[in-house]
Point group: C2
Chain length 666, copies 2
């Protein structure tokens, strides 16, 4: 059921899809100009969308922001937008092809005038794209805001955002669909997989890939958990029998990442994002520089010299990260001193209170780690922003790199120190267990339940407010209240933190689970609750995010692979430390180390060969893509022959638009 | 100056470009059928080329093969072929774009009807492509040869080749151009670089990239040679002072390979192959299987199950390679035993004859290594052929892998043994020097001078034969003799052996040059003579090869990178063995080894980060490619607006053929 259509200024009713919230003190002339640009015809450089001001709420109070606008579009406009976005949809023959308006009736599920052909997530994505590419013509600034400079070709929405005139732009939830999704996703008790296709349908491919990865990771951990459990149950104190586990670990972490690549490719193929081309990326809203000429487009736009950015990266950011790493090491050393001190106090006078004292350093250290991660995160965001990256993707890569290195160091440095400097395996197991369990509990609380509780309060307040005025039918809020409620919801900041959490969990398991075989079991349990809490927070706590047509998990694949290389090295070193192996070389440590190093190099080489041997895309998809390419080539040849072109046998690069669009090069 | 045009059957004169040599006992009906298919119009499935039988030579003897045919084409046909091949040519604005017939006047250097627009190498490549893609229609077999089965879509030329009816197909040399090229390349004494653009013009991009790489490699070695020379001159016996050199080595081999990638990309961009798309690859001539349906094209063609091929690779080829490696090890151990025996004989009775005896094992071993490499090469070719790869590229990759592993093992195993098991640095230096110098001398002799001497004899014989009948003007042979002479020349088998030689030289330098600093100097000298001898053999000894539009050095880049990883490990180990470093850890070998391992891991990590940080394609090319993409997008938008399409803002994937062709996606 679609939300009750609104009536736009021209009298036609439309389904609101996206909300624009301007500051409450936005100047009238700026608003009028913006609306006219959004409504203007495409030929005149407008976006040709439908837009309407949101009516006042039931209890319209002073503090309510009147400048909220609903954006929608006609079905035909959306279909054309789908073509210009290069959206892939399922074709009659079951393959995924780039949608074209001219060819629309050959696509599966296209019936009538196609108003249920695109999902709301796709529609919202199209509207976002159209709004983002709404460009200034000859305006020199936003009307009424002399300081909000514009130049021909500048994205209007991005300028409004960067100047704070536009507070936010977000897509609306679709209550009915969301309810169905919630039910099949986490509300019913079940033994089935997540409804990934429905998730993709509602939230887009980026989200669905995250949940797909979470699920895949959980299944990949099962064999390890199954081996780990008996190890844990029957060899609790006999922690030196972990060679088999370490060897298993090394192979496991290589194989699962390779298989994930294939799995991810087949998901992306099914969803049509595998071959989708990235559009030209716009500069980030916050990017600034002096006006110059873009070497690619030849247009006037802000230019910021790469050399300056490199100076900032290498002379400021890099040293800053190194200082932070040093600080983290320093804090770790203090922790070990405290630990030693507590132990000595306990040894001197073993009472109940001194026994409790033994736990204090660990608790303090855990809290300090979390706090440092948090503070560092802000610093990293600030610095990466200051580095003034032109593209969002470059910004994200630099941010991920910074955060990843520090988090890895912060979380694992103490474990490495215990394992390889102190060589105290009992302590390592103890630390690992505490770290894993506490961080899980903290995370799930901070991430889902706290925001949920806050949101619940807001919800109740809104319902009470509405109920004061009139009786609600079926507890459904009227549109203005619903929109205002969603506008107040927290913004989902992307999958960054979710992947980061998985990354650290993957680290705990792949690096040290041979010492603490229960780790895999704990992580499996955590992942299961994580699915529920993440699903819950996506559906109930956060604003709906714009869907992001991702073809893979991007930079995280690389991060996980780097971790798996570190895991090989670490596991080999742990094998070298095991008393069992040492017993083979009773006289000479040198021999032992040389053997371990040789084995480690062999494993690393094997790992790289394996990465090379296993194709990243399954054979059937490769065939399917080649078939599409071939078909379009043949179709073009026939067409050329029919039309009697001057040349007889043009090849793939010489195709007409229609065939080209349906071809999917990989 | 073009060769004197011949007259084809239809009466028009054409320049012969490619020669087809059929067996002298080929059946008349087969010949007539082949010629008619080659001459037939494209609409009827022919190649629409000009073809003519080569006239008898001056001294037409019995043994002369009459079935030699000259193939050429009209200028318009060649231009259309260039379009269908997807050839990139320089556009008016200096960028490289895919040539299109319709747009021909916008390309640089296109004047008149364009008969000097394409180089002869390009024309020959086009003709080869057209002949290769000349397909059977409803013929079930080659007329007159019931066993030479055909099925619709089968390449006729490939079937004729695989059945031995067609002996060879080769392009003709262009005497005048060749003379000019020889002069600027190796005949004049000069301090300038090689004329890479001219080489590319005459031999195509694959050859030019090889010579470019050879030149680059030589220059890259210069700093090492400059450091090595004083090391060698002043520290002759003080071979333990090589740490600085080892560190330099590690950084050097990483950096030069990364920079080569960039250099290669800019060469390929300049030559227009960087963005050229590979056409659908035909099955190899020798590929066989039962008729089935190709999953990509849906056509009937031989299918050979991948699982069977994998069985052959993993159950036969892999064990065979391992046995060969074992044999090589065995031979090496015999060599060391002989060495020891010779030494003991010399120690017992040190006379002149026993001193000579000391050299005997090395000489025998060197000869045996060469012989083993040669025999193995044949075995590898046989096995790879037997694996029945469908595509030439896959065949090549498997062959390169087999040969590379064995050659590496065969050449370096003894050096590794001396370095790390015997730890005798003086012997290592000695062995390295002998191996390097002898293999260089042998190679240059076997590779250039022997074939040259043979070819010279043939040349003289032919000239004498012609002179017997009539007087030659300016020593130029008449066409029939020239063609027959070229048909007898050795066939150039591609750059495989040349790259293999460079690969082994790169290995000697990067692995062990810290022990024998003169290695770099020797390799530089070798490379300089190599340029001359390779240039000489390309111009004088071999048939002209078909040009190969390569964009990079392919699998060899990977091979060199693998070698550079091994070099890091080896150099670190050599540092660990150096007495200087050992002096720092007088008490514990364990500490030393741990430090070395840690440093090695750090260096490897640094290497991978460096590979990641240095972009493979220089910024200016990235910009240029993005600009072309953007331009074609804009052109398409304008066109759509003019024509008033139903959708207003189609993006890159929705372009018409003309813009698409000019766009170069990277």
């Amino acid at each position: 059921m679609l939300r009750e259509p609104s009536v736009d200024s021209s009298g036609s009713r439309f389904t609101p899809l996206v909300v624009l919230e301007l500051t409450s003190d936005a100047k009238e002339e700026a608003i009028a100009w913006l609306l006219s640009r959004i409504r203007d015809r495409e030929q005149n450089g407008g976006a040709e969308l439908l837009v309407e001001q949101l009516g006042p709420g039931v209890g319209a109070e002073e503090k309510e922001n009147p400048n909220m606008f609903l954006v929608g579009a006609s079905v035909q406009r959306l279909l054309c937008g789908a073509e210009s976005l290069g959206l892939f949809k399922e074709y009659n023959d079951g393959s995924m092809r780039a949608f074209t308006y001219a060819n629309k009736h050959n696509f599966k599920d296209f019936t009538g005038d196609g108003d249920s052909f695109l999902s709301t997530a796709e529609c919202q994505c199209i509207i976002k794209h159209e709004l983002d590419t709404l460009r200034a013509r000859d305006e020199t600034h936003v009307p009424g805001y002399a300081q909000a400079k514009l130049y021909p070709g500048k994205s209007i929405i991005r300028r409004l955002l960067s100047k704070g005139i536009l507070i936010q732009m977000f897509p609306l939830h679709e209550k009915e669909e969301l309810k169905r999704l919630c039910f099949s996703w986490y509300k019913k008790v079940k033994l089935s997989l997540q409804p990934l296709d429905d998730i993709r349908h509602y939230y887009g491919e980026g989200q669905a890939l995250y949940f797909g990865f979470l699920e895949y990771f959980t299944f990949a951990l099962l064999p390890m958990a199954l081996i780990g459990l008996p190890y844990y149950l029957f060899d609790w104190e006999n922690y030196d029998k972990y060679i088999v586990f370490a060897v298993f670990n090394v192979i496991w972490c290589t194989v699962i990442l390779e298989l994930w690549k294939r799995h991810s490719a087949s998901l992306a193929y099914r969803w049509g994002t595998l071959c989708m081309k990235k559009a030209f990326e716009e500069p980030r809203p916050g990017f600034h520089g002096v006006l110059g000429f873009n070497p690619v487009t030849g247009r006037e736009e802000p230019i910021y010299p790469t050399s300056k950015r490199h100076l900032r990266i290498y002379l400021v950011s890099l040293p800053f990260v190194l200082v932070c790493l040093y600080l983290s090491l320093y804090v770790m050393m203090i922790y070990f001193q405290m630990e030693g001190w507590a132990l000595s106090v306990y040894d001197e006078d073993p009472t109940f209170w001194t026994e409790i004292l033994l736990f204090i350093p660990s608790v303090i250290y855990a809290v300090v780690i979390e706090a440092m991660n948090l503070i560092y995160r802000y610093a990293a965001e600030f610095l990466t922003n200051w580095e003034n990256h032109r593209l969002e993707s470059s910004y994200q890569n630099h941010l991920v790199l910074k955060v990843l290195v520090f988090n890895f160091f912060n979380c694992f440095a103490s474990l490495f120190y215990i394992a390889f400097v102190m060589q105290d395996m009992a302590l390592l197991r103890h630390s690992l267990a505490t770290l894993l369990i506490t961080s899980q509990i903290l995370n799930q609380f901070m991430e889902a339940f706290l925001p949920y509780w806050l949101q619940r309060r807001r919800n109740k307040k809104m319902i009470r407010k509405v109920q004061k005025r009139r009786i609600l039918e079926g507890k459904e809020l009227p549109l203005p209240e619903q929109v205002r409620l969603e506008a107040d919801m927290s913004t989902y900041l992307g999958t960054f933190d979710d992947y980061l959490e998985l990354f650290l969990l993957f680290g705990y398991v792949s690096l040290f689970s041979c010492v603490f075989p229960l780790a895999a079991v704990l992580v499996v349990l955590n992942n299961i609750t994580e699915v529920y809490s993440d699903a819950f927070k996506m559906c109930q706590v956060f604003k709906r995010p714009f869907s992001d047509p991702a073809a893979n998990i991007g930079v995280w694949q690389l991060a996980f692979e780097a971790m798996s290389v570190i895991a090989v090295v670490t596991n080999c070193a742990l094998i070298g430390l095991s008393p069992q192996v040492r017993a083979y070389f009773p006289e000479s440590d040198t021999q032992l180390i040389l053997w371990i190093v040789a084995i480690e190099h062999g494993l690393l080489a094997f790992k790289f060969i394996l990465t090379f041997l296993i194709p990243d895309v399954p054979k059937y998809i490769q065939n399917e893509l080649a078939r599409l390419e071939f078909e379009s080539l043949e179709a073009f040849k026939k067409k050329k022959q029919l039309h009697g072109g001057k040349c007889w046998k043009p090849r793939s690069s010489a195709r007409s638009s229609e065939e080209d669009r349906s071809a999917c090069r990989y």
